[in-house]
């Protein structure tokens, strides 16, 4: 590997790590959104029963 390729690899590692972090956060947001919808549904059912 050339010196330039090592530099690209080092910066690439940081970039990939950031992308992975964003992907994890996106997955977590999707789960939270799903859970919020479920809780809203439960609350609606509860309100209609009252």
């Amino acid at each position: 590997m050339s010196q330039g390729e090592y530099v690209a690899a080092a910066y690439g590692v940081v970039f990939v790590a950031l992308l992975v972090y964003v992907a994890i956060i996106a997955a977590k947001l999707a789960r939270l959104e799903r859970e919020t919808a479920e809780i809203a549904e439960l609350a609606r059912k509860r309100a209609s029963n009252v």
Binding site: Y6, V7, A9, V13, V14, K28, L32, T36, L42
Partner: protein, 229 residues
């Protein structure tokens, strides 16, 4: 929540971090001159060292929050300490990865066990990695928070040891850039380093706030679900 207004700053922090990283990359490749000894591989320094310093800061911040938890007995510091240490291990693993690539490019080795700086950073990283094993082996509650806080505080001793190892060692390959005479680099190189350091600090803080926001939202939703069902 008392922290909700602070969490509104996350998008601003993220945008600022992205802009600063862009500027830092621009400076590292187009403004800073090429190093006479190491050539292009020295440009790894502009990300590797700021990432390492940010990892130290995160561990230090986690220890500070742990101290606040033990002192004030406020539960919220437990989560803040945990998230800071989590950020520290992310930046720590990036330090090891970028450092290893730089070592291969400069010295021809991925890792040297004879180098105190590398080994001590690895010890610090493994110490804080073990924090998660300890934390998740104990049931949630004040006992877990206290034990985790004490462990986080012990680790802070390793930070100056790891940082100073490079200066205490006699036979070293790892370069010493910051000496008592000041930074051993040109003004433009130092400016590039400072921008990159600021970028990494803002990025770490944005990620810290983002993770805290997610964790608090998660816990609030769990509480809400229990109330509704």
């Amino acid at each position: 929540m008392s922290t909700s207004s602070r969490n509104n700053h996350v998008p601003v922090l993220a945008a600022l971090a992205a802009a600063l990283i862009g500027v830092a990359i621009g400076f590292a490749f187009f403004v800073a001159p090429e190093d006479v000894d190491q050539g292009i591989s020295q440009r790894i320094f502009y990300f590797h060292v700021p990432i390492a310093l940010t990892a130290y800061s995160c561990f230090g911040w986690g220890a500070y929050k742990a101290l606040l938890l033990l002192w004030r007995k406020d539960e919220r510091y437990d989560l803040e300490s945990y998230v800071a240490i989590h950020q520290g291990t992310i930046f720590g693993s990036l330090t090891l990865l970028t450092g290893s690539i730089w070592a291969k490019a400069s010295w021809g080795h991925w890792w040297l066990w004879s180098e105190n700086q590398l080994v001590l950073f690895l010890v610090l990283f493994l110490f804080y990695s073990a924090y998660f094993m300890l934390r998740f082996s104990i049931e949630e509650g004040p006992r877990r928070a206290n034990i985790s806080a004490v462990y986080a505080l012990f680790g802070v001793v390793l930070i100056p040891v790891s940082f100073l190892a490079i200066r205490l060692a006699e036979n070293i390959i790892h370069p010493t850039v910051f000496t008592r005479e000041g930074p051993q680099m040109s003004g433009t190189m130092f400016l590039t380093f400072c921008i990159a350091w600021l970028a990494m600090t803002v990025l770490a803080y944005a990620l810290y706030r983002l993770e805290l926001l997610g964790k608090r939202l998660d816990s609030n939703l769990r509480e809400l679900r229990e109330l509704v069902t």
